[in-house]
Symmetry: C2
Subunit: 276 residues, 2 copies
């Protein structure tokens, strides 16, 4: 999916919601355990319930990989349930030396070799340019590079300032734009504060940002839209647990529908307000 | 495998060689293509040919993942061929927020859930403490943390100096030792220069170092042993292509045997010389 198509989907669905498929068999409703593949059945019902309200799905690869070969089969079957007008993100945090990153790119992008045809993959920047560029060689495929993550450990290295006072995550944002353009490079940005978002938009005005963990309540989505939106929206805001685990009863899909709809309605207002 | 057992294997086999299983179906001898699973047959013969000369095997996960579900099956079958007195490294460069890293740890360490029972996994440090510590909660399992990698892109971020003049990779070496001790934490160090190795040993005197890409010729193995070895050897030196692709003819296993033996013989001399 290219940037024009992604923006078109955002406008049509009035949403920039990404639903995270962090499906954990110990957290899904008990009545699903009677199915041959409970995780797949859960994903099927979640995708059906949320597809009209979101523009992207983001399976967290670890949750499938932890189940070994069977987990990868479940991931593949899950991907077959997602329509081609949803942007798909392999949240895999890969990254290695050049020829190995090329293999990871084939794992997620080359359906004829791996069975997977994701639109994008999240990539860790530590190993530098040649660990990222092999992912950028696929037409209409995207790298979503970790810049500023939202976890506690982000403070350990990402904020280290160089001798010119520039923190590491800013260097990642700047240097990586020499490797790929805004039609192929997004950033993971776990920022909700106005000053951080303003600064990130100064450094990466055109790129889409994948923002994790923003709830519908509490105003943080408002801040993200106000300070993060650009002319083509430029935002994918992820919600995982708040939607997929809205209920752990038999009504989980209806409750996921309700939650996704609620977020979409707020996003619709924000698009009207800030997308000019 | 714990550190005592690893060191014992090093002394018995007089080797600190790790054989990298970066098996690429386009690079293996053509006569293997007649097998049901050519990659598995190649790995089987390579493991048989090299097992007496090495102490570790390191499958590069990307090379299996690029083949999707079938690739993961091949990886699992390959691991079943490796004896328990070889240290096994999942070269996966994983790392994510806490609960997701915990899933990746289960993927590589918890055989009853994933089918895999690796001794160690390579982990990327960008996301900080909580992305690494979940891997450290498994007894006798190891994190091999990226510190200084050997690729061209290592210069992009790893050498960035903070305001006190300390480069990022040194901060990784130092800070991470607050998360785990030398019985559970190794480092990837792509260094062969005397000054770099001396400096790394100053910062991490006790930890094992996984050193990639050192050939038997050219003296670099000599430098690594001279400046990198500690009282328990503390080195795993990887060789992938020089051994596994020593020949692409029908003699590939014999040639792999010869190459592995040659490296082991040099390592034996180096252990005699520097392990006091």
């Amino acid at each position: 999916m290219n940037r024009t198509q992604l923006f078109e989907n955002i406008k049509v669905r009035k949403s920039f919601l990404c639903v995270g498929l962090d499906t954990d068999i110990t957290k899904i409703p008990k009545h699903l355990l009677k199915f041959d593949n409970p995780v797949l059945e859960f994903n099927r019902q979640i995708i059906e319930a949320t597809s009209e309200f979101c523009v992207a799905y983001k399976p967290n690869i670890a949750f499938y990989e932890s189940n070994g070969v069977k987990g990868w089969q479940t991931l593949q079957s899950t991907m077959d349930l997602i329509s081609s007008d949803h942007f798909t993100i392999a949240d895999a945090k890969r990254g290695d030396i050049g020829n190995t990153s090329a293999m990871y790119a084939r794992a997620f992008f080359k359906k004829e070799e791996s069975g997977f045809n994701f639109d994008s993959v999240t990539v860790a920047p530590y190993m530098g340019a040649d660990s990222v560029t092999p992912f950028l060689e696929f037409k209409n495929k995207w790298v979503i590079l970790l810049a500023l993550t939202s976890n506690e450990g982000s403070k350990d290295f990402q904020f280290i300032k160089d001798t010119a006072g520039e923190p590491l995550y800013e260097k990642v944002l700047k240097n990586s734009q020499n490797w790929g353009n805004a039609d192929q490079l997004m950033f993971v940005v776990g920022a909700t504060r106005a000053d951080e978002l303003t600064n990130i938009r100064r450094l990466a005005p055109d790129n889409f940002l994948l923002v994790p963990g923003v709830g519908a309540q509490g105003g943080s989505l408002q801040e993200v839209a106000k300070y993060g939106m650009n002319k083509q929206c430029g935002l994918l805001v992820n919600s995982s647990r708040a939607i997929i685990y809205a209920s752990n009863g038999e009504d989980f899909a209806e409750r996921a529908y309700d939650e996704a709809k609620k977020v979409q309605q707020e996003m619709s207002m924000l698009l009207d307000k800030y997308l000019s």
